[in-house]
């Protein structure tokens, strides 16, 4: 059986910063990631991030991903790539699938940073080739450099929907429309303005009724909806599109946290069922931490700070940091997280995070 001090499950934004922080403190750290290389969703993010200078504002996710990879290597972080964690067992043992065989990994601390999954929207024709997640589209255009279609309908006007629409335009596609079921646009105004200026209409109060086509998407039928989300008859429009992107939210990928026995809270503002954690990112099970989108759907910037906080707290618990230094640095990270949870978007998440931490004290 393999052994490590700190096992980080998931090598995305949160996992990498957690590993870097704890390795720099002196711990033996292993990142386990199912992909060929770490980075999670960072390498799809070709746009510049928001936030302050310390939050890498003005930097593209792609560059941050490259920097983190280098920092992880320099810090001596071990990686197990193309490896799936298929189970989490008592006394913090992990079951790994490595190609054609399985292995076990024993560890003192587990940091779960497994990220999130795109939500699905079901409607007649949604299984036709051509209907895909907005994140899937982003992977295809920014990493694989292929267009999934020329004429696109984007469903969902949150940040993901708006950003991916803009990236589709940059990639040379024609975004026919962005539709949003709610009566308002959920994403940042600056993103909405950019795509409107490029001639893309954003239709609020609209939903997709069905996708049509023989072997793949050839048309989308959209319609206006009333406050009860019922289609208003007579408002149907037919759009000639080959691709329908679904940008209808993300949910934490939490199977391992459920399996381990973490306590969960249902918080729509954070994406649904979220594992509860304390101010050190530790869940109700000693030695198991959570960070990033798994601990609540937010942004890459919060994922990186939560990762650092979890990594620092984990290293401190193993004795790698003097308590005073640990206390100071954790406080600084908590302040940085608070600074990211402001404004009309951030406040909702800040409140939900407080509820999540209070759930730790219940029962």
């Amino acid at each position: 059986m393999g052994k490590t001090e700190i096992a980080v499950v998931g090598g995305g934004a949160a996992g990498m910063t957690a590993a870097i922080e704890s390795a720099r403190a002196g711990a033996q750290v292993t990142i386990i990631d199912e992909n060929e290389q770490p980075g999670g969703q960072l390498f799809k993010q070709i746009h510049k991030f928001f936030g302050s200078g310390v939050h890498r504002a003005g930097t593209r996710g792609v560059q941050i991903g490259r920097d983190l990879l280098r920092e992880a290597e320099e810090a001596g972080v071990q990686t197990r790539l193309n490896t799936v964690v298929y189970g989490i067992f008592p006394d913090k043992r992990l079951g790994l699938i490595c190609g054609d065989h399985t292995e076990e990994l024993a560890s003192e601390i587990i940091i779960l940073a497994t990220g999130a999954n795109e939500n699905a929207l079901s409607f007649p024709g949604w299984t036709l080739p051509g209907v895909m997640g907005a994140g899937a589209t982003q992977t295809l255009i920014n990493i694989n450099r292929v267009l999934p279609g020329r004429r696109i309908l984007m469903v969902g006007a949150g940040n993901v929907g708006l950003i991916v629409s803009y990236q589709l335009l940059q990639a040379g596609a024609d975004v026919i429309a962005v539709i949003e079921g709610l009566s308002y646009i959920g994403g940042y105004g600056v993103h909405a303005s950019k795509i409107r200026r490029a001639g893309v209409p954003i239709l609020t109060g609209f939903t997709v009724l069905r996708a049509e086509g023989k072997e793949s998407v050839e048309r989308a039928v959209i319609a206006q909806v009333d406050e009860k989300w019922q289609p208003i008859s007579g408002s149907e429009e037919v759009l000639e599109v080959e691709t329908i992107c679904l940008a209808v939210g993300l949910s934490p990928l939490s199977e391992l946290a459920w399996m381990a026995g973490c306590r969960f809270s249902f918080l729509p503002a954070l994406g649904g069922w979220v594992p509860a954690h304390d101010e050190n990112m530790q869940c109700n099970l000693p030695g198991i931490y959570v960070a990033g989108d798994l601990a609540g759907i937010e942004e890459a910037s919060t994922a990186m700070e939560e990762g650092r906080l979890a990594g620092l707290a984990a290293a401190e618990s193993l004795g790698y940091l003097p308590p005073e230094e640990g206390r100071k640095r954790k406080e600084e990270l908590r302040n940085r997280l608070a600074a990211l949870r402001i404004g009309s978007f951030g406040e909702g998440r800040a409140t939900a995070k407080k509820k999540l931490m209070r759930a730790m004290c219940e029962k």
């Binding site: 080739p129 895909m132 994140g135 295809l140 255009i141 450099r145 292929v146």
Partner: protein
């Protein structure tokens, strides 16, 4: 459709050209890209037909999670093409196609 030039990402750097055999037909790919990317670039959107309802499926999540894009690769079924790198000479076959079913039925297998 391949994206050759891009305002942010610049000109694409691709690996060497390789050839895949997809249901008997040659399909051009670049070394290092995923099988799914190569197929989409070549204009293919249907990757398989489903077991029960014989319905076409293609790429849905592009991350290796939903398993809609699976094909038989070099004899191994259920390979997730969106996370599998293409290699020169790979033999790729669609699963569940209508004529595969006809053959199975003729041979006395399948439902019945």
């Amino acid at each position: 459709m391949r994206i050759e030039d891009h305002p942010i990402l610049g000109k694409v750097e691709r690996g060497r050209k390789i050839t895949l055999k997809v249901d008997g037909e040659p399909v051009m790919a670049f070394e290092g890209e995923t099988i799914a990317a190569a197929l989409i670039a070549s204009g293919q959107r249907v990757f398989r037909y489903t077991e029960k309802r014989v319905e076409p499926r293609g790429v849905f999540c592009a991350l290796g999670r939903c398993t809609d894009c699976v094909m038989t690769v070099d004899g191994q079924p259920n390979v997730r093409t969106c996370v599998t790198p293409a290699r020169d000479g790979m033999i790729i076959q669609m699963q569940g196609t209508p004529d595969q079913r006809e053959t199975a039925l003729d041979a006395g297998e399948g439902e019945g």
